[in-house]
Subunit: 741 residues, 2 copies
């Protein structure tokens, strides 16, 4: 026990040279193991056939993963759940007037790309969890179909009531488009891929290049995951065989109107038959035509009918028991299911995770024993609505809340720069990892490369200066869109999401062309960054599993919370200023004077200026947080310079408190209107879907002008941060008791 | 003499109610006369056939204008000059490799638009003053072909040496494109109209809408007018019959390489055969293809051969002699020649000017006698290189320098907001005019409408606040691109350029479709703004001609000069900061770290940081200018409140000095490297062409990193501003001598 304590203290303190060699040994070994060639082989095997939820190859992959992990000497199992998963029975998009045109709704095979021809096994192009519907109506182009686009339509005096909308992909997560359209009275929604977003505008199209060809379609779920992800019939509980299920018609996450995705080859004939005002400049794509809004004269028929079946999903779970703190779990996950062959999404991330796991298994064989329990997960059903991770975590919620100290996610990988988002108590930790990982192209650390990129892209001299001088690089906050969601937002487990990218683009997302041919021609073709991701994830897991004191840090967290609160204040101020200014301009006659009578707009109406609201509870909580995080930082630094063994009692007491720090940021009641989302600091926006809203209860209340709710939410968040501060303070005091001489 | 002095004092002082009725009578009458219907008739007549320089209808129009003006009882004459005007004999653009394609180089007739079918009389599509050439080479896409585009090419490691470049229209005046291309070693230049600039991207194309159809071509001159405008063979002197002419090969304003304009229907097959890197995002148009840069594999043949003929141009000049100050001339001009039928450019402006002149002729018939001489001009040969105005003004240079007090230009007109650029000593004056002109759509003053638009489009709260509170709206500075150039830049005559626009777009500029059909379907179709322009121009001429003290003002001028000098300092500071920052990033390894090895860029080299330079002479001159302009303002305000008749001696003395104030801003040696441009405050940029460079000697020296030249130029400009200040001060002292009791 003593000696291990000593090692832990040293792991915590990279300055202490005497023991660094020992740490470095394991880590260096770990990072030397991941092999690009093996990742290539795994990818070829895993993406050889379509492997969506319910498909034969999805199950086959799960079993292959299981047996592979077992071959590596690991304790692996499959956990299965039964989930609602609609697949299309009938699909139609037809132009009825003023011309006839029937959309093909098909992606053709490409000769050089063999797997693109596996038609019998491919899921058709569709948006999963669209409600069934059969509608015909005038068409309206709504740009991205996000709330601000409807504000623009209002200025132009155009309503979508009773119409079918056509939106281009982009600007938000796709599920927002039918959601907002339905709220605005539309009866159907078509989503298409404009070549401006991921087609010829950017480069050669597949198979000559990586970009989306004219018939390429982006499949994807439109389940209302910002309400709750996972099986629509078992909100908040695992979709086990015996789970109580709600009736389909009560499931809130199915769309209210039918929706289908189409290619631009199918979209152009529809868009070309729109009249009405010319779309504003930032609404225009690059199809060779004038983008107009309608409504009509294009009249469109849209039909979607699905088999509303229950399918079984297969999560593959590996457990490496901890030797000293077996009840503290470090969890690592990447999904294995895809929309079709999914070489990039998700296999490129999964194969890195596999090599990471194989590396750990090699370490185990060589005698390494992680102090904490490590859990590696290959999730099923991510694409449809984070099904595998959500149902697993809901099933094991009680145990996870007690034991999980970290969840690290990845989901696809590419060539370029390290991207990390996550809980800000982990910002310092992951910066430390990134400093020790070598970029395969530049032979400098991925941290350094990322820092230099931030210097290069900084918008202001202040940002640039910060990129140069701040000890840690900022990490972004987590919204949604991958399997960390349930861990962070439902359970309050500190989480990270990571991957490399930024150097290659592409337009095969969720199409039949996201396959081995595409990936090995146009992305991380030599899997150099696959190896780097395995090194990054492996090092992070290794360090977190073997640290004695959990390596959370609260100074970056505290600074970030200050930024978020400043942001909220700025946002309110900006809304006040904008409203005052607009009201003034209305009174001055600015809108009528600048309105072109040939293209008239509806002038906005005078609005009440947003009131001042009480931020004092948050300010007080931030003060407490500043004090406690500084205290904890000082306490942690003090013991990091000692070689006196850590007291096991102190370690236990401190970790017992640290493990609560992310949980403290949740509230059992969840966010207003969406109780599944329990984290008070991070959540996907109700109207962004993937995009994060920080301090979401307050921020969304302000955005929606619910002033009373904003103040109530401020009190809830402030209380959480006060508790957080007390817990940190208490952990700091425990650390102060550790002797250093 | 006395009574007239009294009236003048009153004209100067709009607050004095007793005589305002008399002023208002004439002005109201003046503004009541211009007729939209007549403008429509004039336009139909003037644009009935192609009327470019040297064409039968160009001369016919001049003679019709002459007889019309004479019918109105005016003293009119034609002044003719003989100028070099090349017209195409042979033109070819062919794709030789990897496919064959021959550009049509033709604009087809449009059935509903009768004049578009007048092929026999139409000038072919070409760029006038392109040198003859017959070249074949690899093609390179250079975006707009402006200097910063070549910086980007350098970063990409691409040279245009020995290549033919293809540039899209836009980003600068067209003549800059072959000029820079030649400097960079290209051997030919093709310019095309991308639909992003003025085609289907913006709306329906002609004849369904106002925008450029696929075969539409923008003709235009590529004469190097920033070197000197006018006849290339007679720089600085009038191209009279007996003028001494330089040999063609010595003419510096002919392009160095052959150049032709083409439609996008002709451009797309060429662009589609370019390989190499994908064009940066801001280089891409909206043709349905991936924009790549080359060079090649497209190999192109370009041939241009012209008839280098001398043609006679016909300026129509009307003189209304002044009754009190006949040797002070108010000049008003708009050109009458066009590239083809030219309904918008220039006839829409010319017909307004005609109605303005007819209104003045009506006033004359009713007994009004302008105090100053008024000269109305309908210029020929503007399109080719400001030929008519330049040769006329060069011919009459001595007299004009002595007598001209104002030149007001227009050149086309449309629907919307008043646009004015000009000498800032006229800013206050023209604001006063704009306050008294009614906007036909909004029934508020055009000044008010313009102010409200500025509030609406202000980028910062400070700009918005200024738009709300500044007594006068800022006017822009004059670059080049129309007939004011010789008056302002060569002779130092205070000038204004004005027109309405902003509500209708179009893509018929310099094509056969700029005709009566287009204008009467898609622009100021009821000539309401034609009437408004006539009212604006007429009121300005009337007030300037009848004021006793010339209505210059120097407070706005002084403020603007301060802005310009601040701008120069900011620009130098920005260059210093950017160079320091870039050098630092090079040293840090930012460029190598962020470079994608699959798409490598050439890292920039370390550069010397721009030195601090001595702005003190300018600061001292500005101080003097502040004092004198304040003094003059106070002096002018003092006498504006008196009813004591102005002393004729004082008026004479003051005006004698005021007339010099714009001349003082010129220098006989002109700008560095382009002696024709004599104004030290305003000039078209040597590498912008139309776009203005204020304090051009200093600004361009800084831009070109000629630090010594910048300091020399500062001294020249400072001396001019010191002289200006002394002259203003002296005029103010003269005014101080006027008794007010």
């Amino acid at each position: 026990m003593r000696s291990s304590c000593l090692i832990v203290a040293l792991v915590l303190c990279s300055q202490v040279i005497v023991a660094q060699s020992q740490k470095t040994d394991w880590e260096s070994l770990l990072r030397s193991i991941p092999s690009p060639e093996r990742q290539r082989e795994y990818m070829q095997r895993l993406s050889a056939r379509p492997h969506h939820v319910g498909s034969a190859y999805d199950k086959d992959n799960a079993q292959w993963l299981l047996s592979t992990f077992k071959q590596w000497g690991l304790n692996a199992r499959i956990e299965s759940f039964d989930v609602l998963f609609p697949t299309p029975k009938e699909r139609a998009v037809e132009l009825l007037e003023p011309k006839k045109f029937t959309a093909t709704l098909e992606e053709p095979r490409v000769i050089v790309d063999i797997t693109s021809g596996q038609r019998a096994e491919q899921l058709p192009t569709y948006n999963a969890y669209s409600i069934d519907g059969d509608v015909a109506a005038s068409l309206v182009y709504v740009n991205y179909g996000i709330p601000e686009d409807y504000e623009q339509l209002e200025r132009m005096g155009i309503s979508v009531k009773g119409c079918i909308v056509i939106a281009r992909y982009g600007g938000s997560w796709r599920g927002i488009k039918p959601k907002v359209a339905a709220e605005k009275g539309a009866i159907g929604c078509i989503i298409y891929s404009d070549p401006k977003e991921d087609g010829y505008y950017h480069g050669d199209v597949f198979p000559d290049g990586p970009w989306r060809p004219k018939d390429g379609v982006q499949r994807g779920s439109v389940m209302d995951t910002p309400m709750y992800p996972g099986d629509p019939l078992t909100p908040g509980v695992g979709a086990t065989a015996d789970a109580k299920r709600i009736p389909l018609k009560e499931a809130k996450t199915i769309t209210k109107i039918p929706v289908l995705p189409i290619s631009y080859a199918d979209a152009q004939p529809l868009l070309a038959q729109l009249a009405g005002p010319v779309a504003p400049e930032n609404w225009r794509g690059v199809l060779p035509m004038t983008y107009k809004i309608g409504p009509g004269p294009a009249k469109v028929h849209l039909k979607v009918k699905s088999n509303w079946d229950t399918k079984t999903i297969h999560d593959v779970i590996v457990t490496i028991p901890g030797s000293e703190y077996p009840d503290e779990w470090v969890i690592r996950g990447n999904h294995h299911d895809a929309w079709v062959n999914g070489a990039e999404d998700p296999i490129s991330g999964l194969v890195a995770q596999m090599e990471e796991l194989r590396a750990l298994s090699e370490l185990l064989k060589k005698g390494w024993k992680p102090k904490r329990t490590i859990v590696y997960c290959a999730w099923d059903g991510e694409e449809e609505g984070l099904l595998g991770s959500t149902e697993w975590a809901e099933t094991h919620a009680a145990e996870l809340k007690q034991k999980a100290v970290l969840y690290i996610n990845s989901d696809g990988n590419g060539r370029g720069f390290l991207g990390v988002e996550g809980s800000h108590s982990l910002e310092h930790f992951i910066n430390g990892v990134a400093r020790d990982i070598e970029d395969p192209e530049k032979k400098i650390s991925v941290w350094k490369r990322s820092q230099l990129q931030r210097i290069s892209t900084a918008r202001t001299p202040d940002d640039r200066n910060e990129a140069r001088t701040r000890a840690d690089l900022h990490i972004g906050a987590l919204g949604s869109g991958s399997d960390y969601t349930v861990f962070l937002d439902f359970l309050g487990i500190a989480s990270l999401n990571m991957g490399y990218g930024g150097e290659d683009g592409g337009g095969i997302y969720h199409s039949i062309y996201d396959d081995f041919y595409w990936f090995t021609h146009f992305s991380d073709t030599d899997f150099a960054y696959g190896r780097t991701l395995a090194q990054t994830g492996g090092t992070a897991v290794f360090r977190f599993a073997d640290a004695d004191i959990l390596p959370y840090d609260f100074t970056d967290f505290n600074e970030t919370m200050h930024h978020y609160v400043d942001d909220l204040k700025r946002q309110l101020k900006a809304m006040q200023d904008q409203t005052k200014e607009r009201n003034k301009e209305i009174a001055e006659g600015v809108f009528s004077a600048t309105d072109d009578p040939k293209h008239p707009l509806v002038a906005p109406a005078t609005e009440e200026v947003p009131p001042y609201i009480n931020f004092a509870p948050l300010d007080n909580a931030l003060d407490a947080l500043s004090r406690s995080s500084e205290h904890y930082d000082k306490a942690a630094k003090r013991i990091s310079h000692t070689i006196v063994p850590l007291s096991p009692e102190i370690v236990k007491a401190v970790n017992g408190k640290l493990i609560l720090t992310e949980r403290m940021l949740t509230h059992a009641d969840g966010l207003p209107g969406r109780p599944w989302f329990k984290h008070l600091i991070y959540a996907p926006g109700a109207y962004t879907g993937y995009g994060v809203k920080t301090i979401p209860g307050v921020r969304e209340a302000i955005e929606l002008k619910r002033w009373k709710e904003a103040e109530t939410e401020i009190i809830r968040v402030a209380a959480a941060l006060q508790n957080e501060a007390s817990t940190i303070e208490s952990a700091a005091r425990d650390l102060d008791a550790q002797p250093t001489k």
